[in-house]
Symmetry: C2
Subunit: 467 residues, 2 copies
């Protein structure tokens, strides 16, 4: 990718001098993608996350730079989720990134699941550490010794903590931006209850929040489900997840997981409490997480051959306003109209910007903002000025419509809402079209070849770790 | 500390069963601090951050658990600062936690400053890495190779990025919670400009935001200043900082720093651009950061022998409402009055909670919330009910006043504002009382012995690294 990447930067540089006619600019910028989504999906994905300015490849394999275009999406989802869990009286904390081996290895099944991917710090400066120290792949073993210290009586329960942090899993199998990276950002919730019923209930409450992130924010339909014994979280009792579907690979992808850990960790870490009758009990625990993987799934599901397609609810720029000057028309008036349109939209709660750069042609700007996936483009030219209208173009289906400036806000609201809904419907339609029920192994094998989403039991093998 | 710590947990456990009279409770809970701030400041600090439930000591030396009571303060400051820098068009991003040695060592002065404290990852699972990989102590060398790639023409400038993240500096000199820890949370801003004037201007804009964090939020007076050549940031051009003062140590403490890096890193990392005349130029860069150290300074400045003292602006609980049932009084009515008081205050924008636990005496609750530093306590008992009033007690000066429920909100607002102001004034008075002007070395030495804050030049020695 570094190659594409440099090419891309060089290009935008060259145009910095060119400007000029659309075709010429397009040619010089090399804005379009060299790969087609349906022809070579993997290459298309690697190219679109870079050209869309979400990711920059890093000089350490499996690590990626999350650019502002990505972080804005992450922060919008974070604001929603963080507020929801605070309503549930879950509090944020921050535990260290380092784990001592003795603690890490306390829960055998758990460590077995993670051991091969654990990164170890063995030196500081020129000195060897007395004992190597692990970087958290997840924080059960980091946190639970302190749960054991903090929880004494039933009045200390429930204990409900969450943290927003980075974790490291030194994967070697083909790293992929967002989807499989050696470091990623996530939230991890860790809760302890007096009874299994409370734990069971929370598992599903959290799973519902994950569903909402995918369906309401990312416009991606998901299936809630319970993982098989083989795939459940290492050391847990049972694992629930939201599963999305990537039509181009014909595969389901784990979107986020909400685990009931049962009392297994409580036993290992001696997290006991005394109930109101003075009897000793062991806590029931959950852990749950969603990561920056969500953003990769969004790109894979909605993106097209022109670039990213961002759902309006998570787009940091929902509306891009582009002036379309023409020969002897009053350019300044057009630019002013663009600015006041942005002002009006911002005042009405939209995230809108104008691209008033004078060194890029309108055509170049169209391609640029299409690559970045901005849901709605507003074009303002002399003709629009004359007719008190603006030209509105939807990123998802390229539909164009002229709307009178008189009720711009109402119309834009409808159009933006429709885009969000259309993206969801389209994704759902594609997924449902791929669902195939398999009753026999033969049917299953056949469906697999057709890249279908198969309704069958116990067919998945990968042991689930990514919480 | 682990000792204090365990004692503390055990204690609160035992009270879970005791309850009962204030004195008895106090004795059993060991709520009070065993160390006095003015007698043995260091032990007092270690004890108050634990008993105030801000910090839990961790099994890896120099690493600390930030409990919800701490994170709430961090998030309040973060919400302010993040909004302010977004107004300045600075965008958030996230760069990897790992740095390859070749890049880390590119800027010699810089790496010299950090090398001894860099933590190195050398293994993943059971395998040795081909090259050891460093964990970021700060991100100049992580980011700037990509600035070189992204910045081509003058239209790519300014480039203004920030990230909220963890960094690691494996310090061995007496680790202290918040103040000197091996991992800490911070924001780090990294900006690049076409001209030195723009860079100089931003350095001071950011420094002003740091002043506001200390003075407006943490109620701590600071002095803005420029560091000496000896103390400036390793590899930078000049370093500005806000300096706070800890009366008990008689020392200034660096609160946050805003560096102008000049063109030094630009040279090393070849961050060049072409200006509007087509001439090649090198960018001017800044980097700036504040960390969780801010919270430690707050504890040191405001805390007292009863525990933490939180400024209302950063306290996650500004008002704690405690019911004071009495013999045959209508307990339920009192509890209801507490709940409705909390509801009223929350509706009016205060962060208020009621402590309705039935297993702790009012006296125990007073001590508990004093230890946690809640600025305002409201007591509601039968007499208050009868007189349509509540008893209000200020944490900072223990002043008590009965206020009529009729204009509770207005009064509470005034009182809370006064507490914030009083904390600042008291801190400023203590600091100013310690300022001494030294004209000669003899005067300087004498003043130092008297734990004075000395106005003199070039007296500090420690090389500044903590951005």
């Amino acid at each position: 990718m570094a190659k594409d990447d440099v090419k891309n930067s060089k290009a935008s540089n060259s145009t910095a001098k060119s400007g000029g006619k659309k075709k010429e600019v397009k040619k010089e910028t090399g804005l379009g993608l060299t790969n087609k989504k349906d022809d070579n999906f993997g290459e298309w994905y690697s190219e679109v996350v870079v050209n869309g300015e979400m990711i920059e490849y890093y000089d350490i394999s499996g690590c990626y730079i999350l650019r502002p275009w990505t972080m804005a999406i992450w922060e919008i989802m974070q604001a929603f989720f963080d507020a929801e869990i605070k309503k549930m009286k879950i509090k944020n904390c921050y535990f260290p990134v380092f784990v001592s081996p003795s603690v890490l290895e306390k829960e055998k099944d758990h460590i077995e699941g993670f051991a091969p991917e654990v990164a170890w710090v063995t030196k500081s400066g020129k000195n060897d550490l007395e004992v190597p120290i692990a970087i958290r792949p997840t924080s059960e073993t980091v946190m639970y010794p302190y749960y054991s210290k903090w929880i004494r009586g039933h009045r200390d329960l429930p204990l409900k903590l969450n943290q927003w942090c980075n974790v490291v899993r030194w994967e070697f199998s083909n790293p992929t931006p967002f989807i499989r990276s050696r470091e990623f950002l996530w939230q991890e919730g860790h809760t302890a209850f007096a009874t299994k019923d409370e734990a069971d209930e929370e598992v599903l409450q959290i799973l519902e929040l994950y569903r909402r992130i995918y369906e309401e924010f990312l416009a991606i339909p998901v299936v809630k489900g319970k993982k098989s014994e083989l795939e459940k979280f290492a050391g847990g009792l049972y694992t629930t997840s939201v599963e999305a579907f990537i039509p181009n690979t014909g595969r389901g992808i784990q979107g986020a997981t909400s685990h009931c850990l049962g009392q297994n960790f409580a036993k290992m870490f001696e997290i006991n409490f005394e109930n109101d009758k003075g009897e000793k009990g062991m806590v029931w625990q959950n852990s749950w997480a969603y990561s920056t993987r969500t953003i990769g799934v969004m790109v894979m599901v909605h993106g097209d051959d022109k670039g990213l397609v961002l759902p309006p609810k998570v787009a940091s720029v929902q509306v891009i306003v582009v002036p379309v000057p023409y020969k002897d028309a009053d350019t300044q008036a057009i630019f002013d109209a663009c600015s006041s349109t942005v002002k009006l939209l911002n005042e009405n709660g939209f995230r809108a910007e104008a691209d008033l750069r004078d060194n890029y042609s309108p055509g170049w700007k169209y391609s640029h903002w299409e690559m970045k996936g901005v849901p709605l483009r507003i074009e303002i030219g002399p003709k629009d000025m004359a007719n008190n209208q603006v030209r509105v173009v939807c990123r998802d289906n390229s539909s164009k419509v002229d709307i009178p400036t008189s009720n711009l806000v109402e119309q834009v609201k409808d159009i933006v809402d429709n885009i969000q809904q259309r993206l969801y419907d389209a994704a759902k339609q594609k997924r449902d079209a791929c669902i195939k029920v398999a009753n026999t192994w033969e049917e299953f094998a056949a469906a697999l070849n057709e890249k279908k989403l198969i309704l069958a039991l116990g067919v998945m093998k990968r042991k689930s770790k990514r919480m």
